[in-house]
């Protein structure tokens, strides 16, 4: 059997054409078998990441609704940046037209809104402000609510809520289904 195997394999040779093609390949200009330049890979990866990142950047994953008389809704992406502002009523429209809230971190956007003289007027008139946080992730909801509560800590009569879903049972939109987490806070106390 050894002899048969030896003679069988002895009949197998690398074909001349195969060797020629291999030699051609080895000695061909380096560009034919050169690996892609690492810089090209780096740029390609960067472009891909930017593409994916910008896609993610503009997708809202949560929203914050603010209602006193002006009613508006901030759409927040996964990086906690405001990527959309929606007016719920005419007063809200005026506010968003004159206030630059886009692409700011949501707690800063709330600070900006609360500091707005028109909002301050409503506080001075003793009106109640309602702020609600909407998102599908209960944990995120809680975290956002905590930060929002931190923003409004020194303001007038403000109630904060958090709810799951992309809409909310206020004038900002419709209540969506799913798990609902509710936290309620008036100035100086909390329940949830």
């Amino acid at each position: 059997m050894r002899n048969r195997i030896q003679s069988a394999f002895a009949g197998v040779h690398a074909e001349a054409a195969l060797k020629e093609r291999t030699i051609e390949m080895i000695y061909a200009p380096a560009k034919r078998r050169r690996r892609a330049d690492p810089l090209i890979w780096a740029v390609a990866c960067l472009v891909l990441l930017l593409g994916l990142g910008s896609g993610l950047f503009f997708i809202p994953v949560s929203a914050i609704g603010i209602e006193i008389n002006p009613a508006l809704r901030l759409k927040i992406n996964c990086f906690d940046i405001v990527v959309g502002v929606e007016a719920i009523n005419k007063d809200g429209k005026r506010i968003i037209e004159e206030t630059d809230l886009m692409f700011s971190e949501y707690s800063k956007a709330i600070d900006t809104l609360l500091a707005d003289p028109r909002m301050q007027e409503y506080f001075a008139q003793g009106k109640d402000m309602e702020i609600y946080v909407e998102c599908d992730d209960e944990q995120r909801c809680k975290q956002m609510l905590k930060r929002v509560e931190g923003c409004v800590g020194n303001e007038g009569n403000v109630a904060c809520h958090a709810g799951s879903g992309t809409g909310h049972g206020h004038s900002a939109g419709k209540q969506s289904g799913g798990q609902h987490c509710k936290h309620h806070r008036h100035r100086g106390g909390s329940e949830g």
């Binding site: 059997m1 195997i5 069988a8 394999f9 009949g11 197998v12 690398a14 060797k19 291999t22 080895i26």
Partner: protein
């Protein structure tokens, strides 16, 4: 290239079942050799390098999702019409489960001992002995005759 081309081609034959893949592996091995910075102590060391790299390249290709279809032996190598025994033996070896083929080739054709095959293929020497014993039995069933005659 001439020194190891036939050996690489034979190792390709026992693992890779079509010409295009076989040529890919063949060229990969020699390109790796040209690009390699390995310093070989002697010819045996160099030969062992070729065996290891070829087997690994074949395994990588077999794992690849893009590997091509299997073709009959006649399409893989030029076999003279009168070489019916060669064809029968090669087919018997190629029909062995993959784990047996390296040890059969390395033992019967290249003349390596079980210990050397163990070192080359990173297998335990007892495993190599078992593979050799089982492959001898399987080949004897297919080809008949004495195992080492």
């Amino acid at each position: 290239m001439d020194r190891y081309a036939d050996m690489v081609r034979r190792l390709c034959l026992i693992h890779v079942k079509n010409l295009a893949d076989s040529e890919d592996v063949f060229q990969t091995v020699f390109v790796k050799y040209v690009l390699s910075s390995a310093v070989f102590e002697n010819e045996e060391h160099e030969k062992a390098w070729f065996i290891r790299v070829t087997i690994n390249a074949c395994r990588d290709l077999l794992r690849s999702f893009f590997r091509s279809r299997t073709v009959p032996l006649e399409e893989l190598i030029d076999l003279p019409a009168e070489e019916s025994d060669t064809k029968e033996v090669l087919e018997a070896v190629l029909k062995l489960p993959e784990k047996y083929r390296d040890v059969v080739y390395l033992h019967y054709f290249e003349g390596y001992t079980a210990l050397e095959i163990g070192q080359l293929t990173k297998k335990n020497v007892n495993t190599v002995y078992s593979l050799l014993t089982r492959s001898k039995k399987l080949l004897r069933e297919k080809l008949g005759g004495d195992e080492d005659a």
